[in-house]
């Protein structure tokens, strides 16, 4: 018997012994929902801004201009394959190494879902969002969220996500409160998050 | 309340050290038309044993408790902590005893045990007990009445109706005073640190009197205040409610 089998069987055996006589069935009470929001998209914008992210609302026609305006002049920009907006001069990621990504100042992506109550953007790293690394290493993340992608709360978002994919839930720029509980925005992830909310 | 048999569970600490609190409960309830019995077989709720881990030692004490109060419709006690012990811990001790009769007796008695403010507000339905107490008072909600029993604002409702009384808010009122039974000696340094902070908050209010529903907590708070010669008295809620012009 291999080491692994021994440990596995022993742990499972201990669990079964520990639970001997304990009823297995347990009804999980349903998690309560929040009261309906008057304006889900406005709520989302407000809550994202609460994290000191930049939130701008725009029309689809204005999007390319607003993306360009969000990027500082001369910024080296990386974008994922399949991005639905034109970013002139940007490099399309084709498997850049971490060190190469470190040479970029900004990244522009789309998202999968926006969660209004918590001000959260969820990426599932599909087309238009790209590999996890590209939204992590550059210091500025410009994220395009369509109004019809915004849901009210966490329980509305989970069923829309495919658990087989990796996900990154983003709620404002990276932050720490490790020094005297004093919040500092921007540690390792992008220090600036710009959300373009497209009507 | 006619025909209701009510027993006073005075608690061991009040019996031995704070008899005035027990007398105040008798005076107060008599004024409200409730004649209480004092079953003389009562001793202690066994909380000191249970909370220190001596369950076997708690068994005969809980048995004595159950025997003393059997047959009463209501048991009223001027202690949130002792009421909590009877309501929430006696079942543990009874299970430990392996005596099915004790388990049943405890489960029948436990819901009939009321802390004083619960008894007044919930059972008697009064918040104005006709008291007069012309002093500035601050109220410390004790942990077990607050979090184990959930007495909520009942003591506040009662104090609000006391004529002459000025109630001042205690900063960080809901924080533990640091008594904690044997915690006060097993972890004396931490207990004293907590008690010192509580005493500081009491002094900050400028109140003449700090009131609570538990004399064990007041022994601790009062012990610190006395050592500091703070000039603030500790008085049990029952004694304020019993006071008249």
């Amino acid at each position: 018997m291999s080491e692994r089998t021994t440990a596995r069987d022993e742990i499972l055996g201990r669990i079964r012994a520990a639970l001997d006589g304990v009823e297995a069935g347990y009804d999980v009470p349903p998690a309560p929902r929040i009261a309906p929001l008057a304006d889900v998209v406005a709520h989302f914008a407000e809550r994202v801004a609460d994290y000191r992210a930049v939130v701008e609302r725009c029309s689809a026609a204005d999007l390319a201009d607003r993306v360009a305006a969000a990027l500082p002049g001369g910024a080296r920009v990386v974008v994922p394959p399949g991005l639905g907006v034109e970013v002139p001069g940007a490099t399309v990621d084709d498997g850049l190494s971490a060190a190469e990504l470190d040479g970029y100042d900004a990244v522009v992506t789309e998202a999968r879902v926006g969660i209004a109550e918590t001000g959260t953007i969820v990426l599932d790293h599909g087309p238009g969002q790209g590999r996890r690394a590209i939204t992590l290493v550059p210091d500025l993340h410009v994220c395009v969220v369509r109004a019809d992608q915004v849901v009210a709360d966490v329980p509305d978002a989970l069923p829309l996500l495919d658990p087989g994919r990796p996900h990154t839930w983003i709620s404002g720029p990276s932050a720490t409160s490790d020094i005297e509980l004093d919040r500092v925005e921007g540690v390792h992830g992008p220090r600036t998050l710009v959300v373009l909310l497209v009507q | 309340m006619s025909g209701m048999r009510v027993a006073l569970m005075v608690t061991c600490i009040n019996d031995a050290i704070y008899p005035d609190t027990g007398r105040a409960v008798v005076t107060l309830l008599r004024r409200l038309g409730v004649e209480v019995d004092f079953p003389p077989a009562q001793t202690c709720c066994a909380q000191p044993m249970v909370n220190t881990g001596y369950l076997d030692e708690a068994v005969p004490v809980v048995r004595t408790f159950v025997d003393a109060f059997a047959g009463y419709d209501a048991v009223v006690t001027p202690s949130g902590s002792c009421a909590g012990s009877a309501r929430h811990q006696h079942s543990i001790v009874a299970r430990r005893s392996g005596d099915a009769g004790l388990v049943t007796a405890v489960s029948e008695l436990a819901p009939r045990v009321h802390e004083l403010s619960e008894f007044l507000v919930d059972v008697l339905g009064v918040t104005d007990v006709g008291a007069y107490y012309p002093h500035t008072v601050t109220y410390h909600p004790t942990c077990h009445s607050l979090r184990m029993l959930g007495v909520g604002d009942r003591p506040r409702q009662l104090l609000d109706h006391v004529r002459g009384l000025t109630l001042v808010e205690l900063p960080k009122a809901e924080e533990c005073c640091g008594f904690g039974g044997t915690f006060a000696v097993k972890n004396a340094d931490t207990s004293i640190a907590m008690g010192t902070d509580k005493a500081r908050h009491v002094r900050e209010t400028g109140a003449e009197v700090v009131v609570a529903g538990d004399n064990s907590c007041l022994t601790h708070i009062g012990g610190v205040l006395s050592r500091q010669r703070a000039g603030v008295r500790t008085v049990h809620l029952a004694e304020i409610l019993a006071a008249t012009e």
């Binding site: 692994r4 658990p163 709620s171 | 031995a16 001793t43 909370n51 881990g53």
Partner: protein
């Protein structure tokens, strides 16, 4: 202080030392008050458009239901993880888990790994075990970095350097960063923003070159083979994304049944923990994703005493814990003595129950002292997002400690309680004792100190003794009718 908890003194002794440290008490009071207020604001906000108590009940239910058929959930998790391309390992104890991680690291020929903040890898002493194999384990969470560089011990689950203030952190960075890699910049100030920037620069070179990362997990979803890490700084994402190899050490109690059950957990955890509606970053991954992130993924399922806790009828609920640390922040004992006094990576109220449950009682005095490190005020239970009734578990563990010491020579305390049991079982005997209480107290007050009461009387006066017990008054006056 060196970076291990082994051989710590009993809680009261460690607490006394901590209470004497004015700076520590100031840091703790400030930090816990801040975080308590943040949490409370959010709980109030939830109650304005939802129901926090119902959310807690749901959270407790998700974890409880997973625990009650833990064997089935773990077997399922192993299947789904394996199907997703991960390699699943099982470890009975710390040594086995450490050996598994070391073997993976050695196979890739690395002499360093980067780490996501993880309680479980601290519990098993992974960094020390890897160091013994010549492998450096770099902590990348800012607070863990402060602790590691300072050769210190964590004192809080969420903010392990809560006992350090900004000036101390600046000194640690200036003195130690250069020895571990990129030095702190000249002119480093003690502004949190500047200190965080120094950490960013120091750690970035480590992230970019690391081949192997080690993480824990906040949740493991059995149905889908998904691990979840909740974090703030982005160091977690760096470790989970950039290296080629990822090893996650996961306590067996981290499992939840389904993907959808991440709600309510993801609504409860950040609000209870950092006092935020949502933490900045949450990563989920299900084994290997071709072309994205680590292409070799290991998961180590760890027991290390969890099955002991599971076997404890009352204590089992402690395995619901999601390590939010809300109980630490509201605990009046923790606020005054800090985390080190608990002698474990799990401090505070949850540590006072989890350590004895994992290790068992009756074996060492330090562990046996933990269930007594509480005034039983109940504030911890009130805030726990998964409704762990910590006071009841504490009381039960105290009974287990006492029971473990029955049979030998009884202690003075045991004799006192045996005596009390006799006196309190018979009101006639009690009445006799009470006649001595009044004079006894009056004597003690006059004499100042009497043996056994010295610990009480060091800072607290005794109450005056009454002339007459209540019982005697009742008898003398017929319940006041003859007065």
């Amino acid at each position: 202080m060196s970076g291990t908890f082994v051989g710590m003194p009993k809680f009261p002794v460690a607490a006394r030392a901590a209470l004497g440290d004015a700076q520590l008490r100031h840091n703790l009071a400030h930090a816990t008050a801040t975080i308590r207020a943040k949490r409370q604001r959010l709980v109030d906000e939830v109650n304005a458009n939802c129901d926090w108590e119902a959310l807690r009940l749901a959270g407790a239910g998700v974890k409880e239901s997973a625990l009650r058929s833990l064997d089935e959930h773990l077997v399922r998790l192993e299947e789904t993880l394996t199907a997703n391309g991960a390699t699943v390992h099982w470890a009975r104890d710390a040594a086995e888990a450490n050996a598994i991680v070391a073997t993976v690291a050695r196979r890739h020929g690395v002499d360093e790994v980067v780490k996501v903040k993880s309680m479980v890898t601290q519990e098993i002493g992974l960094n020390e075990a890897l160091a013994a194999e010549g492998i450096a384990a770099w902590e990348t969470d800012l607070a863990e970095l402060i602790v590691q560089l300072g050769d210190d011990l964590p004192s809080h689950i969420l903010v392990p350097a809560i006992h350090r203030n900004r000036a101390e952190i600046r000194e640690i960075f200036l003195a130690e960063m250069g020895r571990a890699g990129r030095p702190a910049p000249a002119g480093l100030t003690d502004e949190p923003r500047v200190l965080a920037a120094a950490a960013r620069a120091h750690l970035r070179e480590k992230f970019l070159r690391a081949k192997v990362a080690v993480s824990g997990a906040n949740f493991a979803v059995a149905e889908t083979g998904t691990l979840v890490v909740v974090e703030s700084e982005g160091n977690g994402r760096m470790c989970l994304t950039l290296p080629e190899v990822l090893v996650s050490v996961v306590g067996i109690e981290k499992v939840v049944s389904t993907w959808d059950q991440l709600d309510p957990m993801l609504r409860l955890l950040p609000r209870s923990s950092t006092g935020e509606r949502m933490n900045p970053y949450t990563s989920t991954w299900s084994g290997v994703t071709p072309g994205d992130g680590p292409q070799e993924v290991h998961v180590v399922l760890l027991d290390n005493g969890r099955t002991n806790a599971l076997a404890d009828e009352v204590g089992r609920q402690a395995l619901r814990c999601i390590r939010c640390s809300a109980c630490l922040n509201v605990c009046p004992v923790y606020e005054r003595v800090g985390g080190h006094a608990y002698g474990s990576v799990y401090p505070g109220p949850i540590g006072a129950i989890l350590n004895p449950l994992l290790k068992g009682v009756g074996q060492d005095k330090q562990t046996d002292s933990l269930p007594y490190a509480s005034s039983l005020c109940g504030a911890c239970f009130e805030v726990c997002p998964v409704r762990i009734d910590i006071p009841s578990v504490l009381v039960d563990l105290r009974a287990q400690v006492v029971d473990a010491h029955r049979g030998g020579v009884p202690s003075a305390e045991a004799l006192a309680f045996k005596g009390a049991a006799v006196a309190l079982s018979d009101a006639r005997k009690l009445g006799l004792g009470e006649r001595l209480a009044g004079p006894g107290l009056r004597l003690a007050r006059r004499a100042g100190v009497i043996p056994g009461l010295s610990r009480w009387a060091s800072a607290r006066d005794l109450p005056p003794g009454p002339r007459e017990s209540f019982r005697a008054w009742w008898k003398r006056t017929d319940g006041g009718r003859d007065e």
